[in-house]
Amino acid sequence: MGAYLLRRAVQAIPVLIGISLAAFLLIHLVPGDPARILLGAQATPKAVATLHEQLGLDRPLPTQYLNFITGAVHFEFGESLSQKVGVGKLIGTRAEVTLLLLMMATLLSITIAVPLAVAAALRRNRPVDHSIRLFSMFTFAMPSFLLGLLLILFFSLKLKWLPTSGYGSGFGGHLRALILPALTVGLYLAPILLRTLRIGIIDTLGTEYIEAARARGLARRLIIFKHVLKNSVIPTVTVLGLNIGFLLSGLVVIENVFSLPGLGSELVTAIGNRDYPTIQALTLVFGVSVVAINLLTDLLYSYLDPRVRL
């Protein structure tokens, strides 16, 4: 298992280099002089020169790239052009919001999907299965901003159980504030998991080893929750990993609907302000996170299925 993971980690290195190059070159892909564009047509040559120096644009490209990488390793990306703070610090606090949101959403989606998938698979093509399918199609098809607004309308404005927006204060406050956004994302993710898992369970139920387990007289509950579930979860893990990676940048909308100070909303602001250091840093963070999530998926996969640990 160790060798397998090492190989996967080594395979990730070229991808990481690619991501860092792309992020680094972003600023140079802008037509013309980035500093002049940033400062506008009225800028004095002195101001342009100062910005050049601040961004390190006066040095040769390889040196710039090396500095960028060295900085990135220490999570330093220079100073934000729009907000006078270090980009690293700016992103750090916001990454926490997004990470927490993503984790809660994933947990919620698993909590919703697993019991429903088991129920649907065990009562295949019966009313239970059909209603679960209808429900999942409904929440999946609904645009997430609409679902988010509906949840706010019901739980925050009508029932007044949860805050309408913002991030709250203190860890408990954060969690409370994240319930509705996480539910919105979770309800989008759950149907994907549910469908994959349902099919997985149905396939596994038809295998000989499940028949053999029945012939051994093992209890139904043990067969379903041990023998069937571990096997059928394997394809679902891949789907979950892919979707979390995809969701990471897809959280922009949700963070805006709920006014959450996360990475996604920061990205929108940074692009609007042409805040290149921040955009560079966010590109790198998103890219590296997706690679990390893929590695985690592989780790989980090899834990679940001994046959891939080759």
């Binding site: 387990a213 051994r216 007289g217 041990k226 001994p306």
Partner: protein, 328 residues
């Protein structure tokens, strides 16, 4: 024949149906046989003749959407078909256990051999975790696997086919069952391994006195292992008798065809194996009367009118073909 002390299993008029477009498909139709203590009974026939379904019905495991439509299954005098699901489940894996055709696919690939053995021993033999481990190692040793400790830690894909079948046998004898159901236990194995597994089954039977109900399409395996043979075709019994009599003087043309189709390992001057002509039966379009008609060398007009029933009990070597004496 019924209710004697040595009687373990008595199956009467067992009929199993599957819903099919345009009616019901009978996978087993009027099956009668007994298994006595310590005996080995073989169900033989081509694939799709209903032998596997018959075997599964004994554990209450007829695959959905099939169901037992008629008949009785007496287990040591107790009627099992009408018994509660709970009662049926208590027999599974304790008094009656089962081994399967493909040992590769009947062990769960994501759990170790030890995990699956210990689980069965704890749940079905009521042992504690540590006792179960010790017992699992004894069992692996008993079925001829070396280094039991290492085997317990192995995943199924790390073992060979023969080793996996030995593991399955070890699991199935864990609770000292009175009856072992064996569904083509050697079909997926190579010939040498096949011999070893059959020898192991006989050895275990001699030690524990368990009965074996063996299902196979291979008459060679059946005749080598069984005391009694039931020949099935298209869900019907065509012939039944003691192994030696059936093999020496088959009464039904189908049985004769099976014997003629058997390859022989020894080089002899005898004629080469002759396969039975035609296709295996289509259960949705069986002819009236004898189901073997379309492939029978001796077919005659009356074959469409005969009832498909044995003319004598197994002990008397029954056949479903009434034209034995008048065959040309």
């Amino acid at each position: 024949m019924n209710g004697t002390a040595s009687e373990l299993l008595a199956v009467r008029d067992l009929t199993i149906g599957f819903p099919a477009p345009g009616g019901l498909l009978l996978a087993a139709d009027g099956i009668d046989f007994d298994v006595a203590v310590g005996r080995t009974v073989g169900l033989v026939g081509e694939s799709g003749c209903g032998k596997s379904v018959t075997l599964r019905s004994l554990l209450g495991l007829v695959p959905y959407p099939g169901e037992v439509l008629a008949g009785t299954i007496h287990w040591r005098g107790e009627e099992m078909l009408t018994a509660s699901g709970k009662r049926q489940a208590t027999l599974r894996g304790t008094e009656i256990s089962m081994i399967f055709q493909d040992p590769t696919s009947c062990l769960n690939p994501v759990f170790t051999v030890g995990n699956q053995m210990v689980e069965t021993l704890r749940k079905r033999a009521g042992l504690g975790r540590r006792e179960a481990r010790t017992r699992a190692m004894e069992l692996l040793d008993r079925v001829g696997l070396s280094a039991p400790e290492k085997r317990l830690a192995a995943y199924p894909h790390e073992l060979s086919g023969g080793m996996r079948q030995r593991v399955m046998i070890a699991i199935s004898i864990a609770t000292r069952p009175r009856l072992l159901l064996a569904d083509e236990p050697t079909t997926a194995l190579d010939v040498t391994t096949q011999e070893q597994i059959l020898a192991l089954l006989k050895e275990l039977q001699a030690e524990d006195g368990m009965a074996i109900l063996l299902v196979s399409h291979d008459l060679g395996v059946i005749s080598e292992t069984c005391d009694e043979v039931v020949v099935m075709y298209a869900g019907r019994m065509l012939e039944a008798g003691y192994d030696r009599e059936v093999m020496r003087s088959p009464r039904h043309p189908y049985t004769r065809g099976l014997i003629e189709a058997m390859p022989s390992l020894e080089v002899t001057d005898e004629e080469p194996p002759v396969p039975i002509g035609g296709q295996p039966p289509d259960l949705t379009a069986l002819p009236p009367g004898c189901p073997f008609q379309p492939r029978c060398k001796f077919v005659r007009d009356q074959c469409a009118e005969i009832p498909v029933a044995l003319d004598a009990t197994l002990a008397e070597h029954g056949s479903a073909c009434p034209f034995e004496g008048v065959r040309s």
